[in-house]
């Protein structure tokens, strides 16, 4: 129960929470743009992780270039995903779309296994493996990198969405698609960019978290589900809600695993989810949506 252990766990929690937040953000952006819940979002983390490992092992690409290629690849991947998996289903009702994204998720998982092999892979760390001593607390430097990179990404995103015209056009598309069209905003292009950016967020998450876990086909599954929980807990459809929800879940998970039960570690996110759905279904930051008669 000492402070140092708690601080250590807090850092771990914030790091994992950042990852959840990044994936949750990707979710939310797609949902806001096209009203689709993308059950394959976790695979948007798994695929770039595999690609990065492959580039590392086979081509020995140095780090900065490695990340660049992975990010660009995922951007293209996102656009392809939109064309193949979303576009044909854009007018369908809820159930076929959900099942379709689940199908894509399974496809990607097994596809990755075939292309990259069944063994889990180890992604080399860009940071040294020794824990850093920060004010008496021993912290894995990769965690610090995760938190800092996520912050940097959020700053960049804030700048992009708030200060550039393209960013504003994308916000407008998410807030009111029909009105955006009436103003001449090319909504189809905005949607494609949204998918691309969402995939890039996945790339960031995959690269950041890859060195900590084994890179395996199952890597994205639980991650995606927990990120989904984050968006609901934080307030569905809400950008700050996604990040904060992710951080909250990440931290609670670590502490609950230590103090309550580590066996049920994976379950805490869902317990919180169900509690939130019972007590405040719109999440911490969300707004109530009532059906109009």
């Amino acid at each position: 129960m000492d402070l140092s252990t708690n601080l250590q766990m807090l850092t771990t929690g914030l790091a994992m929470g950042s990852i959840y937040g990044l994936v949750a953000l990707g979710f939310v952006l797609i949902f806001n743009a096209v009203n689709v819940v993308n059950f394959a979002q976790g695979e948007f983390v798994m695929v770039p992780a595999f690609v990065a490992v492959w580039l590392m092992e086979v081509f020995h690409v140095p780090y900065p270039l490695l990340y660049l290629i992975t990010v660009v690849f995922m951007g293209a991947f996102g656009i392809a995903f939109q064309r193949i998996a979303y576009y044909p289903l854009r007018n369908r009702t809820f159930l076929p779309v959900v099942i379709s994204t689940i199908g894509v998720s399974i496809f990607l998982k097994n596809g990755a296994q075939i292309v990259f092999g069944a063994e889990p892979k180890l992604m080399q760390r860009p940071t040294p493996p020794d824990a850093l001593n920060v004010f008496g607390v021993f912290i894995d430097p990769q965690f610090i990198v995760i938190i800092l990179c996520t912050l940097a990404l959020l700053v960049f995103q804030h700048f992009f969405f708030e200060k550039t015209k393209l960013g504003k056009m994308m916000q407008a598309t998410a807030q009111d698609k029909e009105m955006a069209r009436l103003l001449g905003i090319r909504v189809a292009k905005m949607i494609a960019i949204t998918f691309a950016y969402s995939s890039i967020l996945g790339a960031a998450a995959g690269i950041l978290v890859g060195p900590i876990f084994y890179v395996a086909k199952e890597m994205g599954g639980m991650l995606g589900l927990k990120a989904f929980c984050s968006t609901i807990v934080g307030g569905f459809g809400n950008v700050p809600g996604a990040i904060l929800g992710g951080l909250f879940l990440g931290v609670v998970e670590v502490f609950a695993a230590y103090y309550i039960s580590s066996a049920y570690r994976d379950g805490f996110a869902f317990i919180i989810l169900i509690l939130v759905l019972l007590v405040r279904p719109q999440g911490f930051f969300g707004e109530k949506i009532a059906e109009k008669a």
């Binding site: 504003k168 056009m169 029909e178 009105m179 103003l183 909504v187």
Partner: protein, 260 residues
């Protein structure tokens, strides 16, 4: 400038427009009136391309625009301020206005700045609250923002759908004053309104829609004076009154017979 002919539009399974033809000449304010559900908004949506008509044609400055994408029609010079304002709630006043400039091509920053100043001049509260987010504005301010945003596109034809909806009477007066000024400055306007009187006071001509058909068209002055207008709005047509009278008489005899 705008020539609509024989438009038929379906809303799902309902035929909302059953053959509409109207014109808007350059520099005019034309009012499109009618009771709720008559098809006024459907007409606007058909012109902007949101709905595709099953029959008929629409010519804008000589070009047929039926079947065009919404974004292309906006770029051609038709701006729309739809019913319910639809300002972007999460963006600031300035951002909303800047997005209004999207369809413009070949405009310099100076042009855009000048137009924004003009909007601020027409709607002083917008200048005061220029950094406020859309959802923080009152209903009236949102309406001003929506119209201002429409102006920022330097459109040749401005479609206004129910600008007075939900506004207090004093604000309605303001808004119509501004609409008049905009028109005097050179923008052609097609105005859809439930508040027929206010609309006709500033319009040149008017069309009256009733369940998907145009039943009355005349100059604004004539329409204002026309007692028939009341019938179109309040269902006080002669044939309705007759039916009621007949029924009352039948009811009297029926009541008599049922008592036996």
């Amino acid at each position: 400038m705008l020539n609509v002919e024989g438009i038929e539009t379906w809303y799902g399974a309902i035929q909302a427009l059953k053959g509409i033809s109207l014109d808007v000449e350059q520099g005019e304010i034309v009012a499109l009136l009618g009771a709720n559900g008559a098809g006024k908004s459907t007409t606007i949506k058909t012109i902007t391309g949101m709905l595709k008509p099953s029959k008929g044609k629409i010519d804008f400055q000589g070009r047929g625009i039926v079947g065009w994408e919404v974004e292309d029609i906006a770029e051609a010079g038709i701006a729309c301020v739809p019913e319910g304002r639809h300002i972007f709630p999460g963006l600031s006043v300035i951002d909303n206005l800047i997005l209004g400039t999207t369809p413009r091509k070949n405009s310099s920053k100076a042009d855009i700045d000048r137009d924004m100043e003009r909007v601020f001049h027409l709607f002083p509260p917008l200048k005061e609250f220029k950094d406020r987010l859309g959802w923080q504005l009152s209903g009236g301010q949102q309406q001003m923002l929506a119209i201002g945003r429409g102006l920022m596109s330097a459109a040749k034809l401005l479609l206004l759908d129910e600008p007075s909806l939900g506004l207090a009477p004093v604000l309605v007066q303001e808004v119509f004053k501004v609409i008049n000024e905009i028109n005097k400055a050179g923008t052609t306007i097609l105005l859809v309104e439930q508040n027929a009187r206010m609309a006709l006071l500033i319009a040149n001509r008017g069309y009256v829609l009733e369940t998907g058909r145009l039943t009355l068209t005349d100059t604004a002055a004539n329409l204002l004076a026309n007692e028939e207008m009341k019938a179109h709005y309040l269902g006080a047509h002669a044939h309705v009154k007759e039916a009621r009278q007949r029924r009352r008489e039948a009811g009297r005899s029926k009541a008599n017979s049922s008592r036996e």
